[in-house]
Symmetry: C2
Subunit: 325 residues, 2 copies
């Protein structure tokens, strides 16, 4: 397995990437990681893996064209080298828009796939169980046919990453009943039925997404983005309130000692870092976007996501699924 790694784009620079790479090589020997970035910053990896000097750093707000113009950027070199040398995967913690669109332009979508989708996983009420959500923002709008394809893509991802044999797939809607939803959802619902999509369970309201019943929730990129970021926003607000409650005074700090374990478990459950970022599905190759503020643990999780996608041949399987489209 060969993975191209952009070591520079994240908020925290190359340090967490170096840590994650070392950890990964240690845990999964026999895989080849190729790291792109400022050579002098990557000395620690000398002898452990191939280092490609690509000193320019793509700014956080960069778009695809800017990435493509920056030929010596770690991001652009990582993607284009992946393409030229036939690597299996590419990872970056840099500009989401820039990375995803540049990867799409360089690597191209799988034949038959109308649109790629950004997929990630949320924690649920059921310990250890995740729900797969797509598209969370690769697209500004989608049509019904694309929503049907997202169902197949999400299913393949869920099977590979969480070993769910027969994922239950729902459409995100404003009511659970089959006749409810936006015109787009209504049309997509009909297409799922006509397609006899195995595992399709109907519509689901946003409030039930985390109840543990749903394996894959399909939505257009705009709604998915609202869902993801809305949940992120309120979770952050509540976590802040919890911390403030415990930090108020000596007495409350004492209280924390009594419940420390439970709240640590809770913050681990809610921790998006364990999910390892998001993957762009539907592309010729595994494209993983690590969180912009990744620490070593988070970047390592992203590497693991890439590995599992390659191990389970998700790209090959999707090519198979969509070859007759």
């Amino acid at each position: 397995m060969k993975i191209a790694i952009d070591a520079m784009g994240g908020d925290n620079g190359s340090k967490p990437v170096i840590e994650a790479v070392k950890e990964f090589l240690n845990k999964y020997p026999g895989n080849e990681l190729v790291v792109f970035g400022k050579e002098e910053e990557l000395q620690e990896l000398n002898g452990l893996c191939r280092i490609v000097n690509a000193p320019d750093v793509v700014p956080m707000e960069a778009g695809a064209l800017e990435v493509l113009r920056m030929k010596n950027s770690s991001m652009c070199k990582a993607i284009s080298t992946m393409k030229e040398e036939g690597f299996d995967a590419v990872i970056s913690a840099g500009s989401t828009g820039g990375f995803l669109s540049a990867a799409t332009l360089i690597l191209k979508t799988i034949p038959g796939v109308k649109r790629s989708a950004l997929v990630t996983a949320f924690p649920t009420k059921i310990k250890g169980k995740k729900v797969v959500v797509l598209d969370v923002g690769a697209n500004n709008e989608n049509n019904a046919e694309e929503l049907l394809q997202f169902g197949y893509m999400g299913k393949a991802y869920d099977q590979a990453l969480f070993s769910v044999k027969e994922p239950k797939v729902y459409l995100l809607s404003n009511g659970a009943e089959a006749h409810k939803g936006s015109p787009l959802v209504k049309e997509a619902h009909k297409m799922y039925l006509e397609d006899k999509f195995v595992g399709f369970q109907g519509n689901m309201e946003a409030r039930d997404v985390l109840n543990g019943d749903c394996d894959v929730i399909v939505c257009d990129g705009f709604s998915g983005n609202v869902l993801l970021k809305g949940m992120e926003g309120i979770a952050k607000m509540m976590s802040g309130m919890i911390k403030a409650n415990f930090k108020k005074n000596l007495w409350t700090k004492l209280g924390y000692l009594h419940v420390r374990k439970g709240f640590k478990d809770m913050s681990e459950t809610m921790d998006y870092k364990s999910v390892g970022g998001a993957m762009l599905l539907g592309i010729n190759g595994v494209v993983v976007k690590a969180h912009g503020n990744s620490d070593a643990y988070s970047f390592f999780s992203a590497l693991k996501v890439a590995k599992q996608m390659v191990d389970f041949e998700v790209v090959k399987n999707l090519k198979e699924s969509f070859k007759n489209e």
Copy 2:
């Protein structure tokens, strides 16, 4: 002020409504409440306010046509009597879909208003400060012109309910930058600028909605529903985790004693019941939908919302705003 009250539709029957009515008459004497429902259940209100016998109860899942057909239902009678006798407001805790569409059909939208919108308020990071969100689900889809009108409606609501003089209005989008968003948001953004909408601040991502900077967030009914219910879902999940953490054993219960105050404040802040449900804006008359599972406090809050909307002549002001449309 005359308010029509459907006493029957909620999950908890007429009991919390009776409590809320008594409390309201006590706190705000001189207002006339007319209560619709099973006469024998409402005896406690005899002498306090007018009671109209309307024994049929609209089922939770009823649509507008079902409501209109059930002439002797408390919901249908409350709305039609409001219209016939010229009341100021109507309130129900019954079927959302049925109530909102029946109210729209009977009372009609304000001339010039393209679509009514369901509006509610969320808590924010800043203590006591609420953010107004609309549409949270009256519509399955909206066009840009409707989103512009929602801005005016939300502004009027914010000014009346929270006394914000010059509300900051944002469009919900998948990026804060002006050029980001669905085609709908992009078009609406342009219309806000062309309209020189006073207080328009641009786009806002879902994750920032609760940061306290935004007074009114405008979205189409589908996205708004996803935002509202997604946040509700994760807030409920986290609250459940918090409670479970404290209830584990004697030791954790002891811990709770140390931080009780902070967590009570927190659950009050997050408590949707204090917001008093949602209002349907853009209708000829004040139409308030109390929470289906309202207790007396929650229904009382809904009555207060209705009172403030009438006091501040929101309907009259909106009529003024839209008369040249």
